[in-house]
């Protein structure tokens, strides 16, 4: 049968860390944060807990930015912006997308669609301002 979960302070902390930020952090970022409260925290534990949270449906992956998997604990459907220059990832307010997009695609392909991911790529306001100074 499925393994029964046991309480873990570290697991709590990982999830809490993710829920208390909107930066869509990488595993390493979470690790660096938690290290402050748990000096013995290890990267492996962070990865293991993130994987577990993902399986449980408490966390999801936004995508890979600069080779790092970026996580998000906001589970309601929403889209993201990714700055290609600094790597920041922002949540977007609801967009005017047609209803039933997943169903439509599923029907077209005869596939079962679980979800979709809409990412906008570009340069954030801060990076544009920075570039302006640099000129």
């Amino acid at each position: 049968m499925a393994a029964s979960r046991k309480y873990s302070r570290k697991h709590e902390a990982v999830l809490q860390c993710l829920r208390s930020t909107t930066t869509h952090p990488s595993a390493d970022w979470v690790f660096q944060q938690l290290r402050k409260d748990f000096p013995e925290m290890s990267l492996g534990t962070v990865y293991r807990n993130l994987a577990q949270c993902k399986q449980r449906g408490e966390v999801r992956t936004v995508g890979f930015v600069g080779g790092f998997e970026r996580f998000d604990a906001r589970m309601d459907p929403h889209d993201h912006f990714v700055c290609r220059q600094c790597g920041r990832v922002d949540d977007l307010p609801p967009l005017p997308l047609p209803e039933g997009l997943d169903q439509l695609v599923g029907a077209q392909l005869g596939a079962q669609i679980d979800e979709h991911s809409l990412l906008f790529y570009g340069r954030c306001a801060a990076c544009q301002a920075g570039d302006a100074q640099a000129d």
Copy 2:
């Protein structure tokens, strides 16, 4: 100044390989294919040429599936379906998305949007059929 390009049979072949398939292959898949015609072809060369094509805007990345970067030589805007079970990536016919979505998001964030990526995740028809048999 910018490096001037010199003709390269391998580079041609990499681009050609990508243009002649709709499977959105990984670097290794391209490598395996080209190996047939170029026995001395090396993986490093494939990666280098893919990177170069990307910079030139002749190729783009669809996303990472199972840890592998998947490439696409179709440069006109279109969306994709990713099967989480077998990893296949399909092109989608045009979807009824509102016009000016990128501009809208750009305006909302004060960011400059270069492009967006819309990926649908699920299980393809073949995988569903396979599962049915298995039951």
